[in-house]
């Protein structure tokens, strides 16, 4: 049996999205900037995608900027907002458990004269809205927070956080990294006080190489790329029309029966946690209730190296990540796991299991059986 439980790394592209992409690649392959009919047809495919996505967020189509994915969306949001507002202030706020595409961007900005405050997190990986509120200053131009943590699934109360920020400084922009959360919960940036929101297509059964940034109307961003001024000048470069069309189709599909799917994933998660923690030496990081991501479980197995467990699972057809697979194939110690105070001995013994709505109870039971069989065996052989 093959059970893919690495859906936070990436998902299988849905048939609908793949079919739409194929038809754009081979039929409506024009450049949306071309003035002839072929250009028009391509532009319509893009508009259709924008409509589909705007429908999910209840925003305007012109508030969407298509990008190459999550990393670019985060870079554009943070650098773009910081650069456009640097005369108003130089202070930025984020948390200690962000994705590298946020943390590295913040580091670069701090080299360029910005000051960055990193909020600590509790043992579940959550920030405190109180502490956030205290950190906001008159010169704070941007707050960037991840809605669902990619390693342990911690949830950020974005609406509450946004209103806390705005109550202190109404000019501070609020950016949400929604790369893990989009397609797993309803988000309405307009009324939630979110100014910028990053999304990546391949996390919800869309294509890789496509994503978008929601930019609240009239929010100024300095573009990252110089070029032909496509997408209202915010993101130059010929639009990746096939991938954008796939992104739209995937978004529409994700919202079809969203609550049921989320409920299904939560049920799988709860079942998984309950059973896996029966194995000796196994613990789960983060919350066990529903105040977190429905699809992510962080599992620590005492005395077993994560990489070894991963490959042993792989031999049995079960695919998971060691820590977070997103950054590279060199498993470094995870900043998130350190930040939640995981004991040193468990840092290198933690794997991430992540579901999607297509996973079945049978698949999870199979995977659980493999975990139960392998972990005691691997615990026998320890490295010195």
């Amino acid at each position: 049996m093959e059970v893919y439980l690495d859906n936070s790394a990436t998902t299988r592209c849905s048939r609908e999205a793949a079919a739409v992409m194929a038809s754009v690649l081979t039929t409506d392959y024009g450049n949306p900037s071309s003035m002839h009919r072929m250009g028009m047809a391509a532009e319509n495919r893009m508009r259709r995608a924008a409509e589909q996505i705007a429908g999910t967020l209840r925003c305007q189509e012109k508030e969407l900027v298509f990008t190459s994915g999550g990393t670019e969306s985060n870079n554009l949001a943070i650098c773009g907002a910081a650069e456009a507002n640097r005369r108003r202030g130089r202070h930025l706020i984020t948390s200690a458990v962000e994705h590298p595409s946020v943390l590295r961007t913040m580091e670069r900005l701090s080299e360029q004269g910005f000051e960055v405050t990193y909020l600590p997190v509790n043992r579940f990986g959550e920030i405190s809205v109180e502490e956030l509120k205290e950190a906001v200053r008159p010169d704070t131009i941007l707050v960037s927070l991840m809605q669902m943590n990619n390693e342990i699934g911690a949830l950020c109360p974005t609406e509450e956080a946004a209103s806390a920020v705005k109550s202190v400084n109404p000019d501070t922009l609020f950016h949400v990294d929604a790369i893990q959360s989009y397609g797993k919960m309803r988000i309405f940036p307009g009324r939630m006080g979110i100014d910028l929101l990053s999304v990546s297509g391949h996390k919800f059964h869309g294509p890789k190489g496509a994503g978008f940034l929601y930019v609240r109307d009239r929010t100024k961003l300095k573009p990252l790329l110089c070029g032909g001024g496509q997408q209202r000048g915010v993101r130059s470069g010929t639009e990746n029309v096939p991938a954008i069309a796939g992104l739209g189709a995937a978004a529409a599909a994700a919202w079809d029966g969203l609550e049921d799917k989320v409920g299904h994933m939560f049920a799988l998660r709860e079942h998984f946690i309950e059973t896996v923690t029966e194995i000796a030496g196994v613990s789960v990081n983060g919350r066990r209730d529903r105040q977190c991501a429905p699809h992510i479980v962080s599992v620590s197995a005492e005395g077993v190296r994560a990489e070894v467990l991963l490959h042993a699972l792989e031999e049995r057809g079960v695919y998971v990540s060691a820590g977070s697979a997103c950054s590279s194939n060199r498993p470094a110690v995870s900043a998130t796991l350190s930040a939640i105070g995981l004991p040193r001995t468990l840092l290198d013994s933690t794997v991430r299991v992540s579901f999607c709505a297509d996973n079945t109870r049978e698949e999870i039971d199979y995977a659980l059986g493999v975990f139960a069989e392998l972990i005691p065996m691997l615990q026998k052989y320890k490295r010195h």
């Binding site: 490959h311 042993a312 792989e314 031999e315 010195h384």
Partner: protein, 395 residues
């Protein structure tokens, strides 16, 4: 301008009655390397020389690069071949040759004529003088310097006249396949591919054995070794790679033997298994990347204990080299970048904090006694389940 290359080789000339075998191997290897180069070529042997001639349009740089990968070649001379149509015609050809080969002609030169065909109407000295004069006349910016010329223009009177002025260095060594076959113990590290390269350069064809230990080592670690074998095959021709699953053997040693002896005992089993495949493949020896003192298992004491299990000779071309020197060669043969990819190999997964550096055969053999009951079976299983991949450099 050039349609042909004159191939120079050094040591082969020293061979006696076997010389033709070496030359034939060289011609065969050149043809093999040129298969991937754009153009069609003929490679021929003529009076103790090898010529590569292009038939029609071809990729010059690609040809030179391919020839630089053929062991046995010491020099590659782009050459103009011309019929003997009298001295006047020759002088014109030579001046045209100089004009085309050297856009900037403010150099000192010397003509070096040789006659393999002694019936040519002029002596070598006469040809030197006459051609030198014609070049000086045609290009007043040149100067003659017979002692330290910047450019040596060689003119050889053979059935055809050979004109050449540059010699691009080749890799040296001996033609591949003229020295038998060796079994390389290939890991994912920096050293073993270099060891393979060095022995292959002496004409030895390669097979390789790699030990992996899933799930302790990953599929990517194996892919890395296949990639290294592929890089090696650019020099050494097709490499037959045996991939051996070593996990059970390793775990059994881990369970029953003192942990500080783990690496030595493991290496002894690796040697025996590699030797098994070496025997099957009619290899004449094992090749390793060991170098004295580099790690605990490569002290002279450790090497002696490891060596004890082998019946075949073990060739260790890097034995007295420093790491820096090895890295330099790895960079030259383009294996370094691949070797340093960070995947764990099976030598490091259970490595003890303080492995023995001065093991004795007695103590190791005593530990190995504890493995008696199942080890033969485990080794047999490892051999039987090994995967064999023929790795070539073809695109």
């Amino acid at each position: 301008m050039y349609r042909a290359f004159l191939i120079k080789y050094a040591e082969i000339v020293l061979k006696g009655k076997n010389r033709y075998l070496f030359e034939e191997a060289l011609v065969r290897n050149i043809s093999y390397q040129l298969k991937n180069v754009e153009g069609s070529f003929s490679v021929r042997r003529e009076n103790g020389r090898v010529y590569v001639e292009a038939d029609g349009a071809y990729d010059y740089d690609g040809t030179v690069e391919a020839l630089q990968g053929v062991f046995g070649i010491t020099g590659i001379c782009p050459v103009v071949l011309t019929e003997d149509e009298g001295f006047e015609r020759l002088a014109e050809t030579v001046t045209d040759f100089v004009a085309a080969s050297f856009p900037d002609r403010s150099f000192t030169f010397k003509v070096d004529a040789r006659r393999a065909r002694k019936n040519y109407p002029m002596t070598s000295m006469e040809i030197n003088a006459a051609l030198g004069e014609r070049i000086l006349m045609a290009f007043p910016e040149t100067k003659v310097d017979v002692h330290h010329p910047q450019v040596m223009i060689s003119v050889e009177i053979r059935p055809l006249i050979n004109i050449y002025a540059t010699e691009i260095p080749g890799p040296g060594g001996m033609p591949l396949g003229t020295a038998g076959r060796g079994m390389l113990l290939l890991s994912g590290g920096i050293d073993s591919p270099v060891a393979g390269y060095m022995v292959a350069r002496r004409g030895v064809a390669l097979e390789a054995t790699y030990f992996h230990a899933p799930p302790y080592t990953s599929e990517r670690a194996k892919q890395k070794v296949v990639d290294l074998a592929r890089k090696l095959s650019a020099w050494a021709g097709p490499v037959k790679l045996h991939v051996v699953n070593f996990t059970d053997i390793q775990l059994d040693i881990y369970e029953k033997c003192p942990h500080e002896q783990l690496t030595i005992i493991m290496r002894r089993y690796m040697m025996s298994i590699a030797e098994h495949f070496a025997g099957e493949g009619k290899c004449l020896g094992l090749i390793t990347g060991e170098s004295i003192g580099q790690v605990a298992s490569q002290t002279m004491q450790s090497l002696a204990v490891t060596n004890e299990v082998c019946h075949m000779p073990v060739y260790r071309p890097l034995i007295a080299m420093d790491k820096q020197e090895i890295v330099k060669i790895a960079e030259k043969i383009d294996t370094y970048e691949t070797s340093i990819l960070p995947f764990e190999d099976c030598c490091t997964i259970f490595v003890a904090k303080h492995p023995v550096t001065k093991p004795t055969l007695k103590s190791i053999e005593r530990s190995e006694k504890r493995l008696k009951e199942v080890m033969d079976e485990l080794v047999k299983k490892a051999v039987d389940t090994a995967e064999t991949i023929v790795v070539t450099n073809e695109p």
